[in-house]
C-alpha cells in the first residue's frame, strides 16, 4: 500500500469506529482526539481492525504513534508496504 492507500484505509476504519463524525475535514497533522470523539476503547478498535484486516500487530508501546493521521501513516508505511490495496 502507498501512503495514500494507507490513509484511505484508516479513514475507512474511522468511519466505522466514529460513524457520527464528519471526516471530510480531518487534518492530517492534528491529533484525531482533538478533532473527533475518540476514546481509548476506540483507539483499540483501530488496532483491532488493522489486526483483523491485515494481520498487523501493533505493540502497546507504539499506540501513541496512532495519534494523528500523519503519524499513523508514517508508522504503518513500512509494515504495509507489501499489502496489496
Amino acid at each position: 500500500m502507498t501512503s495514500a492507500e494507507i490513509k484511505k484505509e484508516i479513514l475507512d476504519i474511522l468511519e466505522a469506529i466514529a460513524p457520527d463524525e464528519n471526516l471530510t475535514d480531518l487534518k492530517d497533522e492534528v491529533n484525531f482526539r482533538d478533532q473527533i470523539e475518540l476514546d481509548s476503547m476506540d483507539f483499540l478498535d483501530i488496532v483491532m481492525e488493522l489486526r483483523k484486516r491485515h494481520r498487523i500487530q501493533i505493540p502497546e508501546e507504539d499506540y501513541e504513534q496512532l495519534a494523528s493521521m500523519k503519524s499513523t501513516v508514517i508508522y504503518l508505511e513500512p509494515m504495509m508496504k507489501d499489502v496489496v490495496a
Binding site: A16, A18, P19, D20, M41, R51, Q57
Partner: protein
Amino acid sequence: MIRVPPSLQRIVITGVGLTSPNGNNLATYREALLSGTSGVDRYHIRYVGDTLAGECNFDELKYQRRRELRRGTRAGSVGIYSAREAVADAGIDWDVIDRSRVGVYVGVTEHGNVETENEIYEIKGFDYDTSVWSHHHNPRTVANNPAGEITLNMGITGPHYTLGAACAAGNAGIIQGAQMLQLGECDQALAGGVSESIRTFGIFAGFASQGALAAHQDPAAASRPFDQDRSGIVVAEGGCLFVLERYADAAARGARIYGELAGYAMNSDASDFVLPNPDEQARCMRMALDRAGLGADQIDLVSTHATATPSGDVQECAALRSVFFNPSGPAGGGSANPEMLINNTKSFIGHAMGAAGALELAGNLPSFDDGVCHPTINVDRLDPQCDLPGLVLNEPREVKSVRTILNNSFGMLGINSVVIIKKV
C-alpha cells in the same frame, strides 16, 4: 440510610416505556392487543436457520448515536429506548430532577450470550485466534450491562443493576424498584425488564432440543397458549420499563397514576430445572394476595404467564384453579369473583423472556380506564386442562370494572413472581 415512614410506602406507576414486537409505545401496543394483531414473524438466525420470532422495530437512533449503538448491546438499546420513553411518559422534567436519586432496576432472563456468540463467530473466521477477540466483550457482557447503558445514556448517577430472574425477571425488576423506593434508596425507579434473546441462536437451539420451540406455517398463529395444537415457545425480544414513584411524591407533582403496586411475592419451586411446580406458583399468588390485603375474590383480571408449552400451561392453570376456583383449598381457599377474567399476552408477541412480565402487565394496565380485557388469541381448540372460567379467548371482552390486575411471571430453575396492581 434515609428512613421512609410507612405513610410513604405506597408505590405507584407513573410512566410506561416499552418496545414490543407489535408496538413501540403503550398506545399502539394496546391497540394491537385489542385488535388481535400479532407481532410474530418469520426470522432467520445463523446455524438454526429459518424460524419464528417476535422482533422489535423501534427507532434505535431516537435516543442513541450510532457510536453508542456500535459499542453497546441490543439489550442496552432496548433498555435505553424503554427508559427514555417511560420518563417522557411520566412527565418528569429530566433536566431538573436529581439524577443521583434515580435507580435503574432491569430484569433479564440472561445476558451475554448474544455478545459471546458473536465473538466466537468472529474469531472462527480467524481460526480461533483470540487476539482478535474484542476488547468490547467484557463491558458488553457484564451482567449489569443493560441497566448500566441506561445510566450512561441518561446521566443517571443513582444505583443500577440487573436482576437475573429467568422469565420472572420483568416482575422481579418492578418488585426491586418498589423495594428500593420504600427503603429510600431512590426517588424514581426505572424498573421492569428487557430481552435481546432473539439475537442468540442458542436460545432457539436450546428450546428446539428440548422439544419446546414453536413452529407454524402462519407466524401469527404460532404462539398458542392454552390451545391443544400449541407447539411450543416463540422467542421474542422486547423491553418495558416503568417509572415507579412513592405515591406521595407522584401526587405532589400531579402525576398521572397508572396504578398502585398493591402486593407482590417471589418464591422458588425447589423441584426441577425446567418443569414448573403449581403448588409453589399457587403459594406465590396467595402470598401476593395476602400482602395486598386482598382476597381471591377481589382480583378482576389475571394476566397469565403461560408460554404455550403443554406442561407450563397446564401447571399454571392448576395453580390458578387452586387459588381462584377452590373454595375448600388452603388458607380458607379461594373463590374468584365471577366477573374475573384471565388472558395471555404471549399469544400475540411470543415470549419476551426478561421483558415478558413487565410487557404483559403494561398491556393490561389500560383496562383500568377502558374497561376492556384483551384476549388470548390463537385458541381454536382449548385444551380441556386449561378450561378455566373467565378465560378471554380470541376476542376482547368488556368488563364491568377492572380495579385489580394480578400478573404472573415464572421462570426456569423454579423462580416465581406475582405482582398485583390496583386502580388508584
